[in-house]
């Protein structure tokens, strides 16, 4: 209880509240702008949060991402362009509804179910995280080695249609992570005598490059293609939402549950949660023929799922230090830089910090209701902001942000190189998320692997001697087996019978 009060005191501070509201507005804007994603919002925020205390820093990231994931629904309804990839699953459905004249109901449902889905995500996070942390406190290097490997495996398994490219991307990230002083013996590797490379590839500039710069490079060649906004007037968006809730409350619970689970799986975030829950909704609907004609049912599932996935992703991130999606991957990078190594010990040593995350999450989701209403009301104005003005400003912001991490042009060089690499990877169908996870988890994986190898004196059987380690190891090997099987049977989908191919 003391910790809870301490956390509340940390948050209900004028400065922190200001940071939260400012980042909420920022997140709304970034999410509503097509081409700017929630991950990018985080990447742009990190150079700023770097200079804050941990609680406002986390508050900024949590709030901005929650808002961005909802705000992505607005251009989907008005323009037929998803604001973030998390809204892509139901963009067509949503636009079809708007064209049928149900724009108000559509936006209202998106807002209310985003808020409710988000709250379910937080509730499960609050229930699960402390319990899991209690179990995790007894883990040794073997368990952590398997956990890291399991996390990375999931990342490959979930993100890509082409597992081979996913694994390649992951290994690439892990290989880049080897640059710099090695964690076991302190020997400088692959630095070529360069002093700045001793610390390794700085994570934040690398991430700004891969998530923001590569996106800007793609945006640069389509800058003049701005869609035409629907000319319908937006009225009272809350009319009829309660009716939808009464009819589809089960869809809402199912979507939120799927969202939390997918979010908690490393590597898969809000976008995949939305695709899968939309597909599930269609599969089990009583009126599947209505899907595609502007039917609200699938939207309820998916819009709840993508917001609940955000909370879900924090479960493994807080408990094990293993990110559930690319946003928490960035968060973990931030936490390490602040000297707070995420993991079960944080729950013991700094419980007020965990409670603070919970409170911010709840606060952000409640704040989403009025702010989301404002964003919807001004949606047309937001979407009129010209991209040719926005793009250069974001670019210079990335440059300064990357510079601020190292206080030297070295950060900008890393950003440029990784941005080009990220751009080339996306062009050639290599997913970026596994590479970033490799970069974040690489050190933890190597450290625990080396410690375990030395403890076990090279005997691989030791890796399975402790019961939990054995379970985790078996699970990892099982997933690798499934992936190999999928590699040899290319027609088998992620889940049999479900079409979950992401389009973007």
């Amino acid at each position: 209880m003391d910790a809870f009060l301490a956390a509340a005191a940390l948050i209900f501070d004028l400065k922190v509240l200001f940071v939260i509201i400012a980042s909420a507005a920022f997140g709304m804007f970034v999410g509503a702008m097509p081409g700017l994603t929630a991950t990018m919002a985080t990447a742009l925020l990190v150079p700023i949060t770097f200079f804050m205390d941990p609680v406002p820093a986390l508050g900024a990231i949590v709030t901005a991402t929650a808002m961005a994931i909802f705000a992505g629904d607005i251009p989907a309804a008005l323009l037929r362009i998803p604001g973030t990839p998390a809204s892509a699953a139901y963009t067509d459905e949503s636009y079809a509804m708007s064209k049928k004249g149900e724009l108000d109901l559509n936006l209202g449902v998106n807002l209310v179910f985003s808020v409710l889905g988000g709250l379910i995500g937080v509730a499960i996070l609050i229930l699960c995280a402390p319990a899991l942390a209690e179990a995790a406190i007894h883990f040794s290097s073997f368990e952590y080695f398997w956990l890291a490997l399991l996390g990375l495996t999931c990342a490959v398994f979930m993100t890509s249609e082409d597992p081979l490219k996913g694994i390649t991307s992951l290994l690439f990230g892990l290989a880049i992570n080897c640059i710099g002083i090695d964690p076991a013996a302190g020997f400088p590797r692959f630095t070529f005598g360069n002093v700045e490379l001793l610390q390794g590839i700085s994570f934040i500039p690398a991430m700004i490059g891969m998530f923001a710069l590569s996106e800007l490079l793609r945006g640069a060649v389509t800058v003049d293609q701005q869609g035409a906004v629907l000319s319908q007037k937006i009225g009272n968006i809350f009319t009829g939402v309660f009716g939808v809730f009464k009819k589809y409350w089960f869809n809402f619970l199912r979507g939120s549950a799927i969202g939390v689970v997918i979010g908690a799986l490393p590597g898969a975030g809000a976008d995949i949660a939305a695709w899968i829950s939309f597909a599930v909704s269609k599969r089990f609907s009583k009126e599947p023929e209505k899907f595609g004609t502007g039917h609200i049912e699938g939207i309820v599932d998916a819009t709840s799922a993508n917001n609940s996935a955000l909370g879900g992703a924090w479960i493994p991130a807080l408990v094990f230090g293993i990110p559930g999606d690319s946003i928490t991957a960035i968060v973990i990078g931030v936490l390490y830089m602040k000297g707070m190594n995420p993991g079960p010990t944080v729950f013991l040593q700094n419980p007020q910090f965990i409670y603070a995350v919970f409170i911010i999450f709840i606060l952000a989701n409640i704040l989403m209701l009025p702010l989301g209403w404002l964003a919807i009301k001004s949606g047309k104005q937001i979407l009129r902001v010209p991209r040719n003005v926005l793009l250069p400003i974001i670019l210079i912001f990335c440059v300064v942000g990357a510079y601020a991490m190292t206080n030297s042009t070295f950060g900008i060089i890393i950003m440029l190189v990784m941005g080009m690499v990220g751009w080339l990877m996306e062009e050639n169908g290599f997913p970026i998320a596994p590479a970033i996870l490799g970069l974040v988890l690489g050190e933890m994986l190597e450290q625990n692997f080396m410690t375990s190898m030395i403890k076990a004196d090279g005997s691989l059987l030791f890796f399975f001697e402790r019961p939990i380690a054995a379970c985790l190891g078996a699970a990892t090997i099982l997933i690798w087996g499934a992936m190999l099987w999928r590699g040899f049977n290319p027609k088998a989908g992620l889940i049999p019978g479900l079409d979950t191919t992401p389009g973007a």
């Binding site: 700023i48 200079f51 081979l164 490219k165 694994i167 390649t168 290994l171 690439f172 892990l174 290989a175 080897c178 090695d182 076991a184 013996a185 020997f187 590797r189 692959f190 800007l216 490079l217 640069a220 060649v221 389509t222 800058v223 003049d224 010209p386 040719n388 003005v389 793009l391 250069p392 400003i393 670019l395 210079i396 912001f397 440059v399 300064v400 510079y403 601020a404 206080n407 042009t409 900008i412 060089i413 440029l416 080009m420 080339l424 062009e427 050639n428 290599f430 190597e446 692997f449 080396m450 190898m453 030395i454 004196d457 090279g458």
Partner: protein, 158 residues
């Protein structure tokens, strides 16, 4: 630019081979079997396996469907779009090379102004936005967050 998987695979194999070659000089510690070279070697070996599989896949695609070795995206043939892409990269390089001597404010003005005008923002809007954005970013990072943005030519004034 979309390269055939065979090319991506080949590049990866070369990179990974170079990585393994570099680990040959890593020190061994007496009495300890596993040194700093172990982990990079495992990763590089993995990359070589993946690279080989990619080469096989790419070659198969080339043989069966006649997939080209390198596919150029349509925007590359439009000078203005290609220009936008190259200008962004060029300005970033210029910033890296020149920012320390020139200073943040002049180079950011040039950076924003050039991009705005190229992306056909109206000249007056371009100038005003460039000045406003530069000053706001400078104030935000330099004054508020105390990031030592390079002063360059304006060293005596600021």
């Amino acid at each position: 630019m979309r390269a055939n998987d065979a090319i991506s695979g080949l590049v990866l194999i070369l990179l990974a081979a170079a990585m393994i070659a570099l680990t040959a000089h890593f020190p061994e510690f007496p009495g300890q079997k596993y040194g700093p070279s172990l982990f990079p070697r495992i990763m590089a070996s993995g990359l070589i396996v993946c690279g080989a599989l990619l080469v096989r896949k790419g070659l198969a695609a080339h043989r069966t469907t006649g997939a080209p070795w390198v596919e150029i995206a349509p925007w590359v043939h439009e000078p203005w779009r290609l220009g936008s892409f190259l200008l962004m990269l060029g300005l970033l390089l210029l910033y890296i090379v020149a920012s320390e001597t020139v200073g943040f404010i002049p180079i950011a003005l040039l950076f924003l102004g050039a991009l705005f005008l190229w992306l056909s923002v109206k000249p007056l809007t371009a100038v005003i936005t460039a000045i406003a954005a530069t000053l706001i970013i400078h104030w935000f990072f330099s004054t508020l967050l105390r990031v030592p943005l390079p002063r360059g030519w304006l060293n005596s004034i600021l």
